[in-house]
């Protein structure tokens, strides 16, 4: 998946109405008329949103069926999720390392005398 495709997908999802449409389509295919129902917007406005989502590869509309239901392209969402998950795993690894550093700081602060005591014990 090319960077510009990813950017287009994210840009398409920047609009709250389009996110709602995507959430609705995640439940099942729906026509533009059905999608327009719950919103205070015209069918034309919904059509425009669908066009943006389709150009971003997030939604497809079947050409043959008369109802032309809109369909969510689950695959591209899988890629977006996977991509963010990779980034998350990097952060996870980084902060797991930080845990180890913090544990050391903690021991050092709780028992500042232990080391000195041990050193003195060893010296005497």
């Amino acid at each position: 998946m090319a960077d510009d495709e990813l950017s287009r997908a994210f840009a398409a999802l920047a609009d709250p109405t389009r996110r709602d449409i995507v959430a609705r389509l995640a439940v099942g295919d729906a026509t533009v008329g059905e999608l327009a129902g719950p919103y205070d917007v015209s069918i034309q406005a919904v059509s425009k949103h669908i066009k943006v989502l389709a150009e971003a590869g997030l939604v497809s509309q079947s050409k043959d069926a008369q109802r032309r239901p809109c369909h969510l392209e689950a695959e591209i969402f899988g890629l977006l999720t996977k991509w963010i998950e990779r980034y998350r795993l990097q952060a996870q690894a980084r902060y797991d390392r930080l845990d180890a550093v913090l544990a050391e700081i903690d021991v050092e602060q709780r028992h500042p005398m232990d080391h000195r005591h041990l050193e003195q014990g060893a010296a005497s």
């Binding site: 990813l6 950017s7 840009a11 952060a91 913090l102």
Partner: protein, 162 residues
């Protein structure tokens, strides 16, 4: 190390309305300890990563108006990063972050250490860049920067967490 048995999960959010990435993560530490791990160069170099790379600090002044520069090294591979400490306060840091390979790109980062009491702290880290394209390229770049061999290990780690 006892800390490894006590991992907290990182949560990450790519904001769809502004080009921002938000990360939150809990720690068994006080805000002061987290602050120290972020501002003491020797400690910072030990955890910032990426996995399998050594971090060499080249410049470090973790005070308001200060600056930082480090390079991540593995063999002949080198990736440099630099930025400014815009503000270093008791419980938060505001700083900039630039990858030397893309010198015009800059992220504005805010790190906030929220005291949860009982020796626990929640880190809120947010990074704001100047465009969605920049943010998305940055997210995508995480897939390349020296973590290939780390993936198997990380996958195992995640399996463990679930």
């Amino acid at each position: 190390m006892s800390a490894t048995s006590n991992r907290y999960r990182v949560s990450i959010e790519a904001d769809p309305t502004v080009p921002m990435i938000r990360i939150t993560r809990d720690f068994d530490a006080t805000p002061a300890q987290l602050m120290r791990a972020h501002t003491d160069p020797e400690l910072f170099a030990r955890w910032v990563g990426p996995d399998g790379m050594d971090t060499k600090i080249l410049d470090w002044d973790a005070t308001t108006g200060g600056r930082w520069r480090y390079v991540a090294i593995r063999g002949s591979e080198k990736y440099g990063f630099h930025g400014c400490f815009h503000e270093v306060a008791d419980d938060h840091i505001v700083q900039t972050f630039t990858f030397d390979g893309a010198p015009d790109g800059v992220a504005l980062e805010t790190l906030r250490f929220e005291d949860l009491g009982a020796g626990r702290t929640r880190l809120h880290a947010q990074s704001l860049v100047d465009s969605f394209e920049g943010r998305d390229q940055w997210l995508a770049s995480g897939m390349e920067t020296g973590i290939e061999e780390g993936y198997a290990k990380l996958d195992a780690l995640v399996a463990e967490l679930r």
